[in-house]
């Protein structure tokens, strides 16, 4: 019995309760957020960010967005340049999806959420991008790329590169389709 008591006394949460109650409650809130996140499949930074987790999918083809600057491929450093690549390609992908949907792709799901839980409305108003912001994106992209590669780029091209995976599962480029062209100061 005394060994069980000693065991319990050594538990981290028990020690927090005895010596640092604020930390104890923070830990409980964190554990609650983790459990809620798993149950609802919602991200709750920093408790749960499941978007990085592996899925189970075998792709036979893919589409990538490719950028050319003054007709030369925009080729950033592989992997180590991740923050800059995210600012360019991740935002471009979101823009492309938003334009295709005619609004922020999350908007329908958020409207449904607010319909079920009206108290979420004030919070949800800032969860989506306004339609007019999509119109300002491409000029921003040109400006960001200019500053980040430190070149006076006059012409930016955004292409969709279609790739399929052959019998050996290796990628093969099929075609490239122009999506947008920007010429400073105008956008086409």
């Amino acid at each position: 019995m005394s060994s069980l008591r000693s065991y319990i006394q050594r538990l981290y949460l028990v020690r927090c309760w005895q010596e640092y109650k604020l930390l104890f409650f923070l830990a409980i809130i964190f554990i609650g957020a983790v459990l809620y996140g798993h149950k609802s499949s919602c991200e709750i930074t920093p408790a749960l960010v499941p978007g990085m987790y592996a899925g189970m999918e075998q792709r036979t083809e893919d589409d990538f967005l490719v950028i050319t600057a003054d007709n030369a491929l925009l080729d950033l450093h592989h992997t180590v340049d991740e923050p800059r690549r995210m600012m360019i390609y991740s935002t471009l992908s979101a823009f492309y999806q938003g334009v295709a949907a005619g609004e922020d792709p999350k908007a329908p799901a958020i409207r449904e959420l607010v319909r079920k839980h009206p108290f979420m409305k004030p919070l949800s108003m800032h969860a989506v991008n306004a339609g007019e912001d999509y119109g300002r994106y491409l000029p921003w992209l040109l400006q960001y790329i200019r500053h980040s590669v430190d070149k006076d780029i006059r012409r930016l091209g955004v292409y969709q590169l279609h790739v399929h995976y052959d019998k050996q599962n290796l990628p093969v480029a099929d075609y490239r389709k122009i999506l947008y062209e920007l010429e400073s100061p105008h956008t086409k």
């Binding site: 991200e43 992908s93 994106y137 921003w140 500053h147």
Partner: protein, 291 residues
């Protein structure tokens, strides 16, 4: 011949933490991803993460990112506060608080405007708060708590893949990850040595799957840390190996998260604050229990 990891006291932990944070800031500067370098972005991503909904509800991201002057002041302040906390070993609570809040705001801002909620920045968003605690005993509890948070990141990923989605047992997964993450690079750089390496691994799916399995099992090994601190000297190397393999094969850069690796370093005995202490607290109990 024996080896051991460096033993930290509170000051040492602070210097390593804020020193690492400084290098993260330099890395972000070089990759044009500080707030003043974002060039007043227009679109942002909150996903279904209530933390980000709340953050954007406050209007703070727009305040920081929309105005060049404010963005410059924010980044400069973050640099100065990080350096100040490093030189003073986190002894001034006001500076630590401002620095910690600064990194939290930066992480949320960058993740919002880059449209990708990166886990890699979470380490520097969380760890500085540990130095707000003055009393030695409470600090150790806080430090231990962040250690559990770090172990949880890996353990949760393992549990998710092995028990919830069973993606661990999906045999094509190794080759699929490399294929989809490296496809654009391979197509654009057909003569690269890396392309040859990726092609070989993709065309040998068993090798790819064994690599994938090994990495996931290494993630699972971090669960050991919940039960004992005695293996921390080995667990310390797992994230380094894991993130290095990710850089090589999966095209993701997670080295910034290694700031939390500092919590796997042993702390010196409570009564000895000097760096001369050469004994550790490995014998003390940990989260569940230390046998």
């Amino acid at each position: 011949m024996s080896w051991s990891l460096p033993i930290l006291n509170r000051d040492g932990a602070a210097r390593w933490t804020f020193g690492f944070a400084f290098f993260i800031l330099v890395y972000r500067l070089l990759t044009h991803s500080l707030v003043h370098q974002m060039q007043q972005p227009v679109l942002y991503e909150t996903d279904f993460d209530y933390t980000y909904w709340l953050y954007h509800f406050t209007g703070v991201p727009r305040l920081l990112a929309d105005n060049k002057v404010v963005a410059w002041i924010f980044d400069s302040s973050l640099l100065c506060l990080t350096l100040y906390c490093w030189t003073t070993a986190g002894r001034h609570r006001w500076a630590v608080l401002c620095c910690a809040i600064g990194w939290t705001l930066y992480g949320l801002t960058y993740n919002s405007y880059s449209h990708h909620h990166n886990v890699s920045i979470i380490g520097v968003m969380v760890l500085p708060y540990a130095f707000l605690v003055r009393k030695e005993r409470k600090f150790r509890l806080m430090w231990e708590g962040v250690r559990y948070f770090y172990l949880y990141i890996f353990a949760d990923a393992f549990v998710h893949k092995a028990l919830l989605t069973h993606s661990l047992f999906f045999l094509p997964n190794g080759a699929e990850f490399i294929k989809t993450n490296q496809a654009l690079f391979m197509v654009q750089h057909p003569d690269s040595l890396f392309t040859g390496l990726y092609a070989w691994v993709i065309t040998h799916p068993l090798v790819a799957y064994l690599g994938f399995l090994t990495m996931i099992l290494l993630q699972g090994c971090m669960i050991i840390g919940f039960f004992t601190k005695r293996c921390d000297r080995w667990l310390f190397w797992i994230p380094i190996l894991f993130h290095t393999v990710n850089i090589l094969f999966i095209d993701v850069f997670f080295y910034e998260l290694l700031i939390l690796n500092l919590t796997l370093l042993p702390l010196s005995r409570e009564k000895e604050a000097s760096p001369a202490a050469d004994e550790t607290l490995e014998d003390l109990p940990v989260g569940i229990a230390d046998p």
